[in-house]
């Protein structure tokens, strides 16, 4: 199964592009990717959600985990491009403020 995300690195900066549906079936694989990313202690992580169509609370939890882990290691997380259903979920959970959406 092709997974709906990919990670690219540029020195200390990482870009994570997430597409399609980030849900209870796809979030576990993203979680593993995040674990691998976090141990490299990136100073900046850009999360691009323009291609993200649907998210559920498992997907939100994966993003929160990423956010906390990068911040705890002194890095910055920027989440951009959230729209439609994912944006509605972030707003409902009042995460839009924390995530700066």
């Amino acid at each position: 199964m092709t997974l709906p995300f990919d990670v690219s690195r540029n020195g200390n900066e990482a870009t994570l592009v997430i597409r399609g549906s980030l849900d209870i079936n796809t979030a576990p694989a993203l979680g593993e990717e995040i674990d691998r990313l976090v141990v490299t202690r990136p100073t900046k992580v850009l999360v691009d959600l323009v291609g993200l169509d649907l998210i559920d609370s498992s997907g939100v939890a994966a993003l929160v985990k990423l956010y906390k882990a990068v911040r705890a290691a002194g890095g910055q997380v920027t989440i951009t491009g959230a729209r439609d259903q994912p944006l509605a979920i972030f707003k409902l959970l009042r995460m839009d403020k924390v995530f700066n959406l």
Binding site: D23, I24, N25, G51, D53, L54, D56, S57, S58, V60, A61, V64, K65, Y67, K68, R71, D84, Q85, A88, I89, F90, K91, L92, L93, R94, M95, D96, K97, V98
Partner: protein, 164 residues
């Protein structure tokens, strides 16, 4: 009035997309949103605020039934859906034969959110209740969820992101 739509499927995450897609199309019958915006190359399936609310809530309840009522790895029986798309509302009943639970014992989300209190779980029932007009759980067996969403003024609530 048309008879309701009935969908019975194994209560595991493997079958989740079938249920989610059926619910998304049923929501569209109520909201009147087209399946795709022909001017939008990305062709998002779920954009309309009513569809968004119904699909978001349903995904959470389906996940919970598959994970909590039926254990992720254990023996899962079926999930029985009854979907009633009317002119101005949708009703979805979700029946499972798994473990009942006490919905009143579910802890609410923290009031103040900052980067330290951001939750990594416990969001599902909150999402469902906030998105819909009615979320009723009757422990069984069979356990029954009754979800209802009216068509009137759903957009405003979503845009404000209020969590009534």
């Amino acid at each position: 009035m048309a008879p309701p739509i009935r969908l019975t499927l194994p209560g595991t995450l493997r079958y989740r997309a079938i249920a989610v897609r059926a619910v998304a199309e049923a929501a569209r019958l109520v909201s009147g949103s087209t399946q795709r915006d022909p001017n939008d190359a990305l062709a998002h399936d779920v954009r309309d605020p009513f569809d968004t609310a119904v699909v978001s809530a349903f995904m959470e309840i389906f996940n919970n039934v598959a994970i909590h009522a039926y254990s992720r790895d254990g023996e899962a029986s079926t999930i029985e859906l009854t979907i009633t798309p009317d002119a101005d509302q949708i009703m979805i009943e979700i029946k499972d034969h798994g473990v009942p639970f006490d919905i009143d014992g579910v802890a609410p989300l923290p009031e103040e959110l900052d980067e330290y209190t951001l939750p990594e779980g416990g969001m599902g029932i909150h999402i469902a209740k906030t998105m819909l007009d009615e979320v009723v759980y009757e422990p069984g067996p069979p356990n029954l969820w009754r979800l209802r969403k009216h068509l009137s003024a759903p957009a405003q609530q979503l845009r404000n992101g209020s969590s009534k």
